[in-house]
């Protein structure tokens, strides 16, 4: 009953979702998916779940996690579903027995590592990449790898989001420090690296030319490039940082039937197309990459693998090491 297209080629009445079909009641989704994407999927979901009242709470990953932390402390988790961009947080939630096990039928088509028992499943892919301003740097000159950022010619021209305030930046710090050691970041600091609050600040400063190069989420740059802005993505030769953001159901959900159906919908082809419209990559092989981006498989083999368990367990230590090395004067 999902993804019905009324193309008129022999669609019969039996294809239409019956009024009264599907899950009922209300369901609450906490997510960091951008508001404009949510607005786009609302009508599609309303079609798929005609009798379900779907409510959203949207905020940056860290803010959603803060809200959940408060609710966990109060023993009143209000969310049925969670879709945020920090895979390591799901490991923490699973360990605390806060998640509900659901092996969705569509999980078989997800090409990325997922929780074996079905506690969480990747639902969208964000990538941490290098981006540059094409008015300031020629394509030939542009850095090709993480190592290239240490070239003295970029001194004082590079910005990155703070791992202390941004989940995706935290993953980046963890992955790159595993690959090259913390000395890599110290060298970046010596090359005048500036640290900003988050991706949007960096995106704007890349546009104005305050920075020539930024370490940033791919979707921000794809979106800007799509509008004709002079910015380009570099998929580093020494590995893009792939961040598969999962979807999971809370144990405390009062409407598991609806939560299961929605999970399965997001993993379906239709749900994944909505993800791609939001400039992110799909977790399925049968869905196109976002506009202006190469297919995931072209850079997946070379990706820097983040150690999610380590990221889940050593948050304080990793953040503190980054801070002491980079953010202390």
């Amino acid at each position: 009953m999902l993804g019905l297209v009324f193309a008129g080629c022999g669609s019969t009445a039996s294809d239409k979702p019956k009024a009264g079909g599907g899950p009922t009641g209300t369901v609450m989704i906490y997510t960091s998916i951008y508001p404009d994407i949510i607005e786009k999927v609302k009508p599609e979901m309303a079609k798929a779940f005609p009798n379900l009242d779907i409510q959203w709470f949207q905020g940056g990953t860290e803010k959603v996690i803060t809200k959940i932390s408060g609710e966990v402390e109060a023993n009143r988790v209000q969310a049925d579903l969670l879709m945020v961009a920090d895979p390591s947080y799901y490991l923490t939630l699973k360990e605390k027995n806060l998640l509900y096990k659901y092996d969705a039928p569509n999980r078989k088509d997800v090409v990325l590592p997922k929780d074996e028992e079905g506690y969480w499943t990747p639902v969208r892919i964000s990538n941490m990449i290098i981006a540059y301003n094409t008015k300031k740097i020629s394509d030939a000159d542009a850095p090709k790898s993480w190592q290239d950022l240490l070239d003295p010619k970029w001194k004082g021209k590079i910005g990155m989001p703070s791992p202390l305030l941004s989940g995706t930046a935290y993953v980046t710090a963890g992955a790159l420090s595993d690959k090259y050691g913390w000395d890599y970041f110290s060298a970046l600091k010596n090359n005048g690296l500036k640290v900003e609050e988050g991706n949007s600040a960096l995106q704007n400063k890349l546009l104005t030319g305050e920075y020539d190069i930024v370490i940033i989420l791919e979707e921000n740059i794809l979106k800007m490039a799509g509008k004709g802005e002079p910015v380009k993505v570099v998929y580093p030769e020494d590995g893009t940082i792939i961040i598969p953001s999962p979807i999971a159901i809370f144990n405390t959900s009062q409407n598991k039937e609806a939560a299961e159906a929605i999970t399965n919908w997001w993993l379906s082809k239709e749900g994944q197309q909505a993800i791609v419209k939001g400039w992110m990559h799909s977790v399925r092989a049968d869905v196109e990459p976002p506009k202006g981006a190469p297919a995931l498989k072209t850079f997946m083999d070379k990706a820097v693998n983040a150690d999610w368990n380590k990221l889940a367990k050593n948050a304080e230590q990793i953040k503190e090491t980054f801070r002491a090395r980079i953010l202390d004067k």
Partner: protein, 530 residues
């Protein structure tokens, strides 16, 4: 209700005493504490140095166009600090800052004269956004002042300047301190500006540390954050305590029974220089950032220099046409009005208790309100989630009420400080006279006290309304599906949509507030408003 929330902190704070050891075993947190203290103090001193002369010019001299200047000097208070900070980084960043590039061009400099990413830059931006607290508090008190003592000084042959320094200034002490304290607390508990301006400069303050701990996403993080937050409250309250001590037992009564107008000092030859100074200050502090925000809202793309071909009203169209903007504006109006009104009522009681009675523990509510004001918003938001998720009596989660409570906890201290300062300047003989003539206590309050402190009540109301109207940090964690506020919308636009749209919304907020202010002023013939 408010105290219930604050109490939940104190319980939190004392329970995890062992956390303090873990938190303060880290050098960085000490550095942050010292930075916060240093910053707040510098911002406070600078704000007072700027605000007192301006308030005096507007309140007590024959400066032309006073109404215009008064609005100008508080206008920065109407810009959400989050947006204003971004505007200043656009103007003064060292690589492509607009003002910097212009100056380099004009004077053939070899490098940018200003770097906003520095301690000085941080002090500058914080001062601009928070000095209106001091200005509003001081100018209200100046205008209500009984001129007798000044006249006595003048008659005894003191020059106007001498009278100002020896008589007016000391008499204004409670208001100056109240204003200064507000600035101190606001600067110390602010997260937005330090994260935007301070982070690229690698300056850590307590609030950025606290948010870092909260974002750890586990109970430990929350506990460490609380421990730090409690230290911030302690710093703020020790300042409050020191200030109260400084006021001591002296007599600051300046509002007597006679209905008098404060005397206006004739500036004489200094009139036009004074206007020049006021205009310059207004241009730099208000016009520049607002112009920067306004231009941003018209700009087609950030990647091109500002030119006519790169300006467009296109960004305005979706904002004006879309209904998604109307609901948050309505929500923010409701919550800010409710928070401001409730805070004003509570503040009246708290101030009266603290200033005019001898009850035991009369200062406790006052101290509690300072606690709330000094607590970083993110910690308040967490405490509210924990307190009001229905485990306790009330389930306010995801309602507008929880937002109102949050705003009250955070901003109550604004109205308490403002009203307390002006109450302490009202002579007890006035009340006694009324009571002795047989008026009831309520009647005395209604007919004597309230009219005398009315300007401060209004000022206090606005001081709560404004920040509540565009509050961001708490709202983003506490809002629900139907209770989106302007602050949340602004954050969304800034983060995901287009920064240009965020600028459009900021300009709209500014217009709404200014127009609202004008209407109120017109309706009340200039008695009410800022």
């Amino acid at each position: 209700m408010v105290y219930l929330v604050i109490n939940s902190f104190i319980v939190d704070g004392s329970v995890n005493f062992e956390n303090y050891r873990s938190v303060y075993s880290k050098i960085v947190n000490w550095t942050a504490l010292i930075n916060t203290f240093k910053l707040s103090l510098l911002v406070m001193i600078l704000s007072l140095i700027i605000s007192f002369p301006l308030a005096w010019l507007v309140g007590r001299t024959n400066l032309p166009a006073k109404g215009f200047f008064r609005t100008t000097f508080v206008a920065t208070y109407m810009i959400p600090p989050y947006v204003g900070a971004i505007a200043w980084t656009q103007l003064l960043n060292p690589s492509v800052g607009f003002v910097n590039t212009m100056l380099v061009h004009l004077f053939n400099l070899s490098e940018s004269p200003f770097n906003i990413y520095s301690m000085a830059g941080l002090v500058w931006v914080l001062t601009l956004f928070y000095s209106p607290f001091a200005f509003i508090t001081i100018s209200r008190a100046l205008e209500k002042m009984d001129p007798t003592l000044e006249e006595a000084a003048r008659i005894s042959g003191a020059s106007p300047l001498r009278a100002l320094i020896d008589v007016t200034l000391p008499l204004m002490f409670p208001s100056i301190l109240a204003g200064g304290l507000l600035v101190f607390i606001a600067a110390g508990s602010c997260f937005g500006i330090p994260s935007i301006v301070g982070m690229p400069a690698q300056i850590e303050v307590l609030t950025t540390r606290i948010v870092t701990y909260v974002y750890m996403g586990d109970s430990n993080g929350i506990r460490d954050a609380t421990a730090l937050a409690v230290s911030l409250m302690l710093v703020a309250n020790s300042i409050l305590f020191i200030m109260t001590m400084m006021l001591g037992k002296k007599d600051y009564v300046t509002i007597g029974g006679k209905s008098t107008r404060p005397n206006i000092v004739d500036l004489g030859v200094w009139k036009w220089p004074a206007v020049g100074a006021a205009v310059t200050y207004g241009l730099v502090t208000v016009f520049l950032p607002i112009a920067s925000i306004f231009v941003s809202s018209l700009i087609r793309t950030y990647s091109e220099p500002v030119s006519l071909s790169n300006l467009t009203f296109e960004n305005w169209l979706p904002v004006i046409q879309s209904s998604q903007y109307l609901i948050p504006i309505k929500n923010s109006f409701i919550t800010a009005t409710a928070a401001a009104t409730a805070s004003t009522v509570i503040a009246l009681f708290v101030s009266y208790l603290a200033v005019k009675t001898r009850a035991k523990g009369r200062l406790i509510p006052d101290v509690l309100s300072t606690l709330g004001g000094a607590t970083p918003s993110v910690v308040i938001a967490l405490a509210l989630i924990i307190a009001f998720s229905g485990n306790l009596v009330l389930n306010l989660y995801s309602t507008l009420t929880i937002l109102v409570v949050g705003y009250m906890v955070k901003y109550l201290t604004m109205s308490v400080r403002t009203i307390s300062a002006s109450l302490s300047q009202v002579h007890p003989s006035l009340e006694e006279a009324a009571l002795n003539s047989g008026a009831s206590w309520l009647r005395t309050c209604k007919d004597i006290m309230l009219p005398l402190i009315a300007p401060s009540i209004v000022a206090g109301w606005f001081l709560v309304f404004m920040p509540s109207f565009y509050e961001l940090t708490m709202s983003i964690i506490l809002y629900g599906a139907k209770t989106k506020t302007i602050g949340v919308l602004l954050y969304e636009l800034q983060t995901y949509a287009d920064p240009q749209n965020a600028s459009v919304l900021s300009v709209l907020i500014l217009i709404i507030v200014l127009v609202g202010n004008l209407i109120i002023r017109k309706l009340t013939k200039g008695n009410v408003g800022i």
